[in-house]
């Protein structure tokens, strides 16, 4: 496929290049919408299209006004803060519980392994709208109980509800990535450690954890992005005080569309590039550590 053999016929040559053009167009379809919002977010006007000044590359056509709005307007700052409060807590919760369970699941004799796995993966499979509907009923009762019986403040309860809901949604990703890392884990290493007198805790932290860490971290990143990007469940479970960044973008898109959304979107694209790079790096490191890849 890389290069055409010298005996290729004209028809084959034409097909070879047409095919490349087709694939190129599909990739363009995948990437272009994401790329195009970046220059648009520097628009000096409140338009969603390129102004003549922008097309003429006139510096006057570009400005940072939408970014200024994004970083100063409380309508955007507050949701950004909320997202940065909710996502890390949800991540910590799903990573700690998820890693333990993944280690349990990777043992050789686990009764009902298939059924347990199905339950743990279910938050990823059940459509978000159904999760949100179910959680809406359950968490509003739970919130009332926490406020009335336990005496917590309304805002604290609100955060707890959203964090628990998001942690549940992030868990399948942690389970999947960590179990995948554990598949290649050599159990004779833990036996060797035990043989040399290490306690189970020592073995876990000194031998097992460093080896599966890349999987844990990338599972954590998945859980983080799940919470950071989630809007359906938070719409149903959260109150206005827990409005997150995606929620604000969603209402913005539905009601009054302001170009600040494009600035927010660009910031999020930058974040996803960083996350993607991290996950990719971790994956390679993990493969190298486990000797799955020659380099």
């Amino acid at each position: 496929m890389t290069s055409l053999p010298i005996y290729a016929t004209t028809g084959q040559k034409i097909w070879h290049y047409t095919f490349r053009v087709i694939v190129g167009l599909i990739l363009f379809f995948l990437i272009a919408p994401i790329i195009i919002i970046i220059p648009l977010s520097f628009n000096a006007e409140s338009f969603f299209t390129f102004t003549p000044e922008m097309l003429a590359l006139d510096p006057a056509g570009y400005s940072l006004r939408h970014y200024r709005d994004f970083f100063t307007n409380p309508d955007w700052i507050r949701p950004l803060q909320n997202s940065l409060i909710i996502a890390p807590f949800a991540t910590v919760l799903s990573v700690s519980l998820g890693t333990l369970a993944a280690i349990g699941l990777s043992q050789s004799h686990v009764p009902y392994r298939r059924a347990i796995m199905a339950i743990l993966i279910s938050p990823m499979i059940v459509p978000l709208i159904i999760s949100a509907t179910g959680m809406f009923f359950f968490y509003s009762q739970m919130g009332l109980w926490m406020e009335n019986t336990l005496g917590f403040s309304r805002s604290f309860t609100g955060y707890v509800k959203v964090i628990l809901a998001h942690a549940a949604l992030g868990i399948p990703f942690v389970i999947i990535t960590v179990t995948a890392t554990l598949v290649g884990f050599d159990h004779s290493l833990t036996r060797a450690a035990a043989n040399m007198g290490a306690t189970p805790t020592q073995t876990f932290f000194k031998v097992q954890m460093p080896l599966i860490l890349p999987g844990v971290v990338s599972g954590g990143l998945f859980a983080f992005i799940t919470s950071f990007d989630e809007v359906v469940v938070v719409l149903f479970v959260g109150a206005a005080a827990q409005k997150t960044l995606p929620w604000q973008m969603f209402t913005g898109l539905r009601e009054q569309i302001s170009p600040t959304i494009l600035a927010a979107a660009t910031v999020l694209v930058a974040i996803s590039i960083v996350l993607l790079a991290t996950v990719e790096m971790l994956r390679r490191r993990s493969e190298r550590l486990r000797g799955l890849s020659p380099n």
Partner: protein, 534 residues
């Protein structure tokens, strides 16, 4: 017989090994349990509760229990409007419900089945307090003691309660005496509700409040049935005199009072609705979600202008299939190219696939909203090139086209990644072998390569289909009215129309479809083999 093998501690080897195995299983379960409990509580229970809500209908029986009981043997065929007994029971139930402020909730519930009932409940809720005051006036005229709360407490209260409330700092919860229950069953029943509402909701004391008019109606009914009730400790002669006089009273006409308050109470349909929906569990939400309707005469098809859900389910399926097919068509060439490029170039190309996968869903949706608008980039470009006139710009958003384009873009990586992981395992030598045996390019691809890539297509298709069938955000933003899915309707019933039972029923149907597909996916691919990001 051979001697059994022994372990170092003196047990047989077999039991020693079994013990080790049990311990290992236990340790694995201990590690899994916290998460399993967490998921069960935060996720599985809420979903189960939602499923339950789709059949639950306690609200009718809980709010108007007396009416439900009185209506049980009403037959609309012989008697178009229920008799006075039903209306008296209904007046009592409404009085309690109004005081507890739950009558409007029942009104909204029944309004899902018969439009207009909600306003009937609201209107009569305001009037019910004054209904039957003529009867109360007749009792008071007979003996002013009937207007005194103390008379009622003396008649109704349990002697222990009277003793307790005399000494206690705060009044204990009211207890009806058994004697009152035996002698005046209806009165005791409604008075108990009156005392509870007075204490709990109005934080008042029954010793200081005159009972509702409906209590007098119950007393009237009890006295008509038994003119000489005996209650030990009742004020002398009071009950006897009343029992002798009630026969001469002008009977309360609650039916007239209700019809006067709202003519709807005189219609057969209203009462049929209440009767049909009085059981504690109902299939009506499920029937409604497939455009059927439960009527007193059995299950019928909903009127034409209300048939929306079957259409919406079909549209959701067709659009999900369209998106799935577009994803196959667009994903296959890319996956093929990825699988056949040298690994360095393939990795670079993979990043182009993974970047959209990692980008926020809302970013991608907003990008399409911006691109597809009539004044958006694509239309500008088409006008500039001259393909489209400035006045005939294409409508690509707020319709099905917008949803399909945006969702194909969003779900494409979910097709490419499983396809790629399957194609990577197909040895390129097979194609070469086919060609050297004389196959044309097409035959070699279609007969040799394609069949081997089918598992990848299957995996990707089910994944894309499962994801798209439950999508909410993207159709909501770019779908307008003709491009929305069943999930948007569910969200509408949760947050706007507040018909939660219907939302739960629609959700249950959707969940059943998704779980069936999930089961198929597990069969074909295995859930353990889900790969994220290559």
């Amino acid at each position: 017989m051979a001697e059994q093998m022994m372990a170092a501690d003196g047990r047989t080897l077999k039991s020693s090994l079994n013990r080790a195995l049990r311990r290992q299983k236990l340790r694995a379960l201990l590690l899994i349990t916290p998460l399993l409990l967490f998921i069960l509580i935060t996720f599985v229970v809420p979903i189960g509760q939602m499923l339950f809500r789709s059949v639950e209908n306690q609200i009718v029986g809980d709010t108007i229990p007396r009416t439900v009981e009185a209506l049980a043997d009403w037959d609309a065929a012989t008697d178009p409007v229920p008799d006075e007994d039903v209306f008296r029971a209904f007046a009592a139930d409404m009085m309690v419900a109004v005081e507890e402020r739950i009558h409007t909730r029942l009104g909204s519930r029944l309004n899902y089945e018969t439009a207009g009932i909600s306003s009937q409940f609201r209107r009569s809720g305001r009037d019910v307090e004054d209904m039957g005051e003529e009867l109360t006036a007749q009792f008071t005229a007979l003996d002013p003691a009937w207007q005194d709360p103390a008379t009622w407490v003396a008649l109704m209260a349990d002697p222990d309660w009277i003793a307790d409330s005399a000494t206690a700092q705060t009044e204990p919860a009211f207890i009806i005496s058994d004697a009152a229950r035996d002698a005046l069953p209806r009165t005791a029943d409604i008075y108990a509700d009156f005392a509870r509402v007075t204490q709990v909701i109005n934080t008042d004391s029954p010793t200081e409040e005159q009972p509702w008019n409906v209590v007098y109606i119950a007393l009237y009914q009890d006295l008509i049935a038994n003119p000489a009730p005996q209650i030990a400790g009742a004020p002398d002669g009071l009950l006897g005199a009343a029992g002798a006089a009630v026969a001469g009273f002008v009977a309360p006409d609650m039916r007239a009072a209700f019809v006067d308050s709202d003519a709807g109470w005189g219609s057969t349909a209203t009462w049929q609705t209440i009767q049909t929906y009085s059981p504690a569990y109902t299939s009506s939400y499920f029937l409604n979600s497939v455009d059927l309707k439960q009527t007193p005469d059995g299950i019928e098809i909903a009127p034409e202008n209300q048939q929306i859900y079957v259409k919406l389910f079909i549209r959701t399926l067709i659009m999900s299939l369209t998106i799935m097919v577009s994803c196959i068509l667009l994903g296959y060439p890319v996956a093929w190219m990825l699988a056949n490029l040298p690994s360095r170039q393939a990795n670079l190309m993979l990043i182009l696939v993974l970047l959209p996968f990692w980008t926020s869903l809302l970013v991608r949706t907003s990008a399409w909203k911006v691109l597809l608008q009539q004044q958006g980039v694509i239309n500008d470009l088409l006008v500039w090139v001259g393909l489209v006139g400035d006045e005939s710009r294409l409508t690509m958003i707020n319709n099905a086209t917008g949803t399909i384009i945006a969702m194909t873009h969003i779900l494409l990586p979910f097709m490419i990644l499983p396809l790629y992981s399957v194609m990577k395992t197909i040895p390129p030598s097979y194609l070469r072998a086919a060609k050297s045996l004389g196959a044309t390019n097409w035959t070699a691809f279609w007969r040799v390569y394609f069949p081997q890539s089918v598992p990848g297509i299957g995996a990707g298709s089910i994944l894309v289909f499962i994801l798209s069938i439950g999508y909410y955000i993207t159709p909501e933003i770019v779908g307008g009215t003709s491009g929305i899915f069943i999930s948007n309707r569910i969200a509408y019933h949760i947050s706007s129309s507040l018909n939660w039972g219907l939302a739960a029923a629609l959700g249950t149907i959707l969940l059943a479809v998704v779980l069936a597909l999930y089961w198929a996916y597990d069969r074909i691919v295995g859930i353990d083999n889900v790969k994220l990001g290559g």
